[in-house]
Each structure stands twice: as C-alpha cells, then as structure tokens.
C-alpha cells in the first residue's frame, strides 16, 4: 500500500519537473490536482481547527473543549459573535444588505492595522536604529575612531564625486560606470586593508561605519518629497549601490538552500526507484 502511494507521489513529482521542459498534459494534470486537493484540504481543516471548536461546538453543542457552557452565557455570546461576523462575509451576495458585510472586514482589517503599528515602530525602526548606531561600540580608542570616521567620510565623498562627475561628463557607457564602482570599491577595500594593518579596533570601526553610511544612503533613496539632486542625489546613488550589493548577497545566500531542496526531492525519487527494484527483484 505504501508503495502505491509513494509511486503516486513519485509520478506527480516527475509531472511537475516535466514543466521545466515545457507546459504539458502531465503538468496540467498535477497542477489541477494539487489545486483541488488543497481546496478540499483547507475547507475541512479550517472547519475542524477553527470553526468547529470555537463556534459550532460552543453555540450549538454548548461545550468548549469538552467543558459544558450555559446557553446565553458570556462564553456562549463570545463564540456566537465571531460566528455571526463570519456569516456577515456572505452578505455581499444579497445586494440589499451587502454593506453589512463590510463590518466583519472592518473589524478584521482595522484590528490588525492597529495591532501592527506599535510593534513595527519598535522592531523595525527603533531597534534597527539603535543597533546601527551602537555598532560602532567596538571602538576602543577615540582618536583612532575619529581618524577612521574621517577616512570613511573621505572614501564616501570620493565615491559620490566619482559617480557625480562621471554622470556630468555624460559617460553613458555602462562599462564606465562599472569602472567607477570598481575603483570606489577598491579604494574602500584598500582603505580597510590598510587599516587592518594598523589596528584591529580600526577594522571594527571602519566596517561598522559602512553600516551607518549604508543606512543613510538607503534611507535617502526612499525620500519621496524631494528631487534626487545634489547631495540627496549623491546619497541616493550610494543607497542604490548598497541596495544592489545587499540584493546580490541575499541572492547568493539563498542559492544553496534552494539546491538542497532539489537534492531532497531527488533523494525521494531515488528511494522510490530503490523500492521498485526491491519489488521486482532486480
């Protein structure tokens, strides 16, 4: 029995992979199958996991998790109200009362909008700001730190200068742009290497100041109420540089995990072939 199911799984797996060649009846079948299976699955699961224990059982069977509750009691009402809200979603099919259907949506969306605001402020603004500013906390010697700051600002200025100058010269050739970026990167990296020869604290502070500059640039890119010209324009360009490097890095970072997914599926197919050989005594 298990073998039959594994075979079905394997055939479906191969059907999906056939999509890599082109769209074909096997893929179409597998795709329509999974849509149907998941629709049936969620229909049943949502009912048994949410509706039955939280609405149906308290309201009609008068029990919550096996404990009896009174008809018309507080808990009974607390189960009835969300149930009615769920029913309200279907009011849209009756044009006369369609507007009542928005109550449920209003409660849901308004509630989650309110719920999300403060944690977003805390976790994505305040915590990020704090982490970024305090990242310089590896610096022991204030003098070295200030030197590094000056150096970083210098490199930063050089990058902007090169980018702006190149643009003003009208260097349309993308290779020229690459050249500028490579030169800037080499300057930055060279500065970093020189510093790592001088002191270990210096390395920490310079790379951390990269964090500060990067965040400054990226935030500048997201300025909407000013034209991206002059200093803001330069900062925004720096922001794009950081964004692209960041995207490339997370792209590269994801590759291996995607390949391991593939390895997992191929392993499943190999097991299946092994089972076939076992059964037919190869």
């Amino acid at each position: 029995m298990t073998f039959i199911w594994t075979t079905i799984g394997a055939i479906l797996t191969l059907s999906i992979y056939s999509f890599l060649y082109k769209d074909n009846p096997f893929y179409k079948f597998a795709e329509h199958l999974v849509v149907g299976v998941s629709a049936g699955y969620y229909l049943v699961i949502y009912y048994f996991n949410y509706i039955h224990p939280n609405v149906f059982s308290p309201v009609f069977l008068l029990e919550i998790g096996g404990e009896p509750i009174g008809f018309g009691s507080f808990l009974w009402w607390m189960a009835l109200i969300p149930g009615l809200l769920g029913v309200l979603l279907y009011a849209r099919f009756f044009p006369k009362i369609a507007w009542v259907g928005r109550w449920a949506l209003g409660i849901y969306v308004g509630g989650y909008a309110g719920l999300g605001l403060s944690p977003v402020m805390q976790a994505r603004v305040i915590e990020q700001l704090r982490a970024n500013a305090l990242s310089v906390a590896g610096v022991e010697d204030p003098f070295a730190a200030m030197t590094n700051l000056a150096l970083a600002v210098g490199i930063f200025a050089a990058m902007i200068y090169l980018l702006v100058v190149k643009r003003n010269l009208g260097a349309k050739n993308p290779l020229a742009k690459v050249g500028v970026l490579v030169v800037s990167a080499v300057i930055a990296y060279g500065g970093w290497l020189v510093l790592s020869l001088i002191s270990s604290a210096g390395v920490v502070s310079l790379t951390n100041i990269l964090l500060v500059i990067g965040l400054l640039g990226t935030l500048s890119y997201f300025f909407f109420s000013m034209k991206h010209k002059g200093i803001l324009g330069g900062l925004a360009r720096v922001g794009i540089v950081f964004l692209m490097v960041g995207f490339g890095a997370s792209f590269g970072y994801t590759v291996m995990s995607r390949i391991s997914l593939l390895i997992g599926r191929v392993g499943f197919l190999i097991d299946w072939v092994g089972q076939i050989r076992g059964i037919f005594g190869a």
Binding site: W5, T6, A10, L12, I16, Y17, F19, L20, F29, A30, H32, L33, G36, V37, S38, A39, G40, Y42, L43, V44, I45, Y50, P82, G83, V87, L89, W99, R102, W103, L105, I107, Y108, V109, G110, G111, Y112, A113, G114, S118, Q128, N132, P174, Y189, S196, T207, L210, L211, G214, T218, L219, F242, M244, V245, G246, G248, A249, G252, Y253, M256, L262
Partner: protein, 214 residues
C-alpha cells in the same frame, strides 16, 4: 450610514488594538486576544467564499467547454473526494484516507514545486550575468562572492590569498555590513510606509479594501 458604520467599527477596533501594545492591564490584553481569535474565525469562515469561487470558475469552464475543461473536472473531482473523506462524516486523523491524500499528493506536489526554484534561481543568475548595467554588475559580483563563500569550493580557491580577501571572509563582511545596511534601510522605510498606511486605515482615509463605495 452604510459607509460610516464600518468605518467607525474599523476606527474603534483599530485604536483599541493600538492601545493594547502600551496597556498591560489584563482586561485590555485578554480582550485583544479574544479579538485576534475572532479574526482567525472570520478568515476561516471565508474559505467557503474562495471554494465557491473556485467551483464557479471551473464549472463555467466545463459548461462552456473552454480549452482545458477536462482538467477542471480533475480539480472539482479531487476536491469532492477530499471533502468526502474529511467532511463531517469522515475523519482527518493520521492514517485516514484524507490524511493519506494530503501527505501523498499535496505535500510532494508542493515540495516539488518549491524545489523547482533550484533551476529558476540558476536561470535568474544567468540573466543577471547578461545584464550590462552597473547596478546589475554589482548585484552579480556580490552574489558570486557570497555564493562561493558559503561552499567549500570558495575556501579552496582562495586559501592562499591574503586573509582579508579570502572568499569566506569577504562573504562575512558583505553579509554583515553592506547587506545589513541595505536590509535595515528597506526595513525602516517600509515600516514607515506601513505605519502611515495603518494610520490611514484606522482613520478611514484608506478604504480600498472595503470595496463598493456605493
């Protein structure tokens, strides 16, 4: 009236949930919990809307004999079978037909679909390679460094180089600094966007999601 009541409800609930973050009093926090529960129930109740739509679309396709209508029969039939085995008269426990179908159809199909990404990420990388803009080159260079830096090959290739430019070390620096800075920038910008939008929703300025104004 028809517009004001839903907006008033949105406003009151929104403010209540907003306040919940700052008010640890159990009366507030337990009511907020209750309302989150209501939210999940509303969402669970909506599944029938979705399934209804699915049935209607496929039914129309079959009735009008549009291209590929045979596959629509597959969808509706297998959904019916799932519902039959898992419905009120069925069982969803481990070992039941419902569970078997889930484990041997939905799970392998989904994870196979997921694993297609291994091929797609390769073709996307190839595409980036052919783009000739400065930005794309940056993206590609960073991607190659990080990709190689995370596998033994990268270490092998560069092990005789100065320590600072060995691939694993460069990967670490790229991940921890430029990547982190960009990540934070996007996160903070998006957070402000979310908050501004959330405020507009609570105040009833943004109401596209409610649809039908009339």
């Amino acid at each position: 009236m028809r517009r004001e009541i839903p907006l008033a409800i949105t406003f009151l609930i929104g403010i209540f949930m907003l306040v919940d973050f700052f008010v640890p009093h159990h009366v507030v926090s337990s009511s907020a919990e209750e309302m989150k529960q209501w939210g999940t129930i509303v969402i669970a109740a909506s599944i029938l809307l979705g399934v209804g739509n699915l049935i209607r679309v496929h039914f129309h396709k079959i009735r009008r004999r549009r291209e590929g209508w045979g596959y629509s029969i597959t969808t509706l039939a297998i959904m019916g079978v799932m519902f039959f085995f898992g419905g009120p008269w069925g069982t969803i426990e481990e070992g039941s037909a419902f569970n078997w179908m889930f484990l041997n159809m939905q799970v392998p199909l989904q994870s196979t679909m997921f694993s297609l990404l291994a091929f797609f990420i390769a073709s996307a990388a190839y595409r980036a390679f052919r783009l000739r803009s400065a930005e794309a080159s940056l993206l590609l260079i960073a991607a190659i460094i990080v990709m190689l830096g995370r596998v033994p090959l990268g270490q092998l290739l560069t092990r005789s180089w100065p320590e600072a430019i060995q691939l694993p070390n460069m990967t670490e620096v790229i991940m921890a600094y430029p990547n982190m800075a960009a990540f934070r920038g996007i996160l903070m910008g998006a957070a402000l966007g979310v908050m501004a939008m959330g405020l507009r929703i609570i105040l009833g300025i943004e109401r596209s999601y409610l649809g039908g104004e009339k």
